[in-house]
Amino acid sequence: MTRVMTKVFAIAAVVICIGTFVTMLIGLINSGYQSLSFEFLFSSPRNFGLEGGIAPILISTSMILVLAILFAVPISMLTAIFLFFRCRCDTVQTRLILTVLELLASIPSIVFGLFGMLFFCDFLHLGFSILSGGLTLALMIFPTLCLTLFASFLTLPNETRMVSESLGLSRLTVARHLLIPHSISGIVAGIVLGVCRCVAETAALIFTSGYSIRQPRSIFDSGRSLSVHIYELAMNVAGGDANANAAALVLLIVLLIINLLIFAIVDRQPNWIRSANH
């Protein structure tokens, strides 16, 4: 009986997941495909985005994304490594850090947006800029990324830890040669999650990167991200639905490509680990 129930639930879950996705996709394609063209991708928006394309927006989005990842990944990596080496020696301290990280991970992104506006834009005088947005997003994905990395580090067998310690290997060596190669798939999964959250983020960016639809010249310029553009077109521009749908379709495709790319790299992982180990 339980087996039948499990099967029913499993099938229901699959139907719901795929059904939602397909319905959404069909909706987007239906209302967005007329606007989607080569020109749409490679030209600037005109008339508040009702005409023209999304080229500067794509550039802003990638700049924000790259900055966010560039700041978030190294810091969360170091934090997770620190936690890993401390977690068996100092339970009170690590429990405190983990609790704080979990709390931070559950804070809504709009709060990060407000904080980013006050801290990066005003206090650090970065203004509405791609840098402010990137830093805010880095801060936003940091807790989740850190916890994901830490969880994947914990799968390192305790014996490996003991042996490396008994050989007098430094933490840096253990991290570089044992910990990171061992948890590479967890690390990549964490980064993919972070990337997707960044690309999809709207609320935190409205307050930090701004609305400007001009081509950004540097990271200190304001720039509109794709999700902010969709939000603007759908909510604040009358008749912007078609282009909003087209932009959403592009967003979906971008996410898909990023996912596929990163997982293609992970699949190659055994090879580069082997060749890196001589």
Binding site: R88, C89, D90, T91, P157, E159, T160, R161, M162, V163, S164, E165, S166, L167, G168, L169, S170, T173, H177, L178, P181, H182, I273, R274, N277, H278
Partner: protein, 258 residues
Amino acid sequence: MTTSPNIFEINNFSASYRDAEALNDVSLNIPRRGIMSIIGPSGCGKSTLLNSLNRITDLTPDFSHRGDVHFDGQNIYQRDFDVVNLRKNVGLIFQKPNPFPFSVYKNLSLPLKEHGMRNRKEIESTVNESMKIVGLLDEVSNIRRRNATELSGGQQQRLCIARTLTLKPKVLLCDEPCSALDPVSGKKIEDLLVRLGKEISVVVVTHNLAQAKRISDCVAFFCMVEGVGKLIEKGDTQKIFNAAQHHMTREYVDGSFG
């Protein structure tokens, strides 16, 4: 530097995990050469003692100790003691073979590089030398490409021994090194330990009394007394197996224990 005949001098050493005492008041000298077997029933603190000598117990959060342990005349628990240097000089072999999941060559060269050897040729010759001592040089080909986890269990264990030997340790501590292996592989490890015991100090924790009798020069017998591990008796192998003074030792080596 002292010229004591003992590499380790353990004085009134007690060890506890949280509040449970695992070892009580152990005093034992470990000579610079030869094999010492540590025997006794499970849970009597043999492994704890072994782990304390390499200070791998630092990883256990609730571990605490009393008394002191001198390595080469230096108290290993004193402040500012160079633990990394201790671990370089005191190799530890675990029950389960645990090679790192990369090439055989890198398994051996990584600790060398860690401890400051930079010259490529020097590293290579040291690796080959260790591989030769443990008898893997002829058995395993293509050590730069071959992943260490692909070796057989016995080969893996010998690789682990070779890995510590690259650092030219003065002591090799083995925690039941053969018990996870088949008898043939176990015999190879035994022979290897006997050869090593001629040059350096080898300490073997074992449940295999026949093995202790075969390979060791001296034996220390540990046992639980009122729930705490204690050193009951130590002495030459012949004496412990044939003319032990303590009745518990006699019962244990006769197999009539408990």
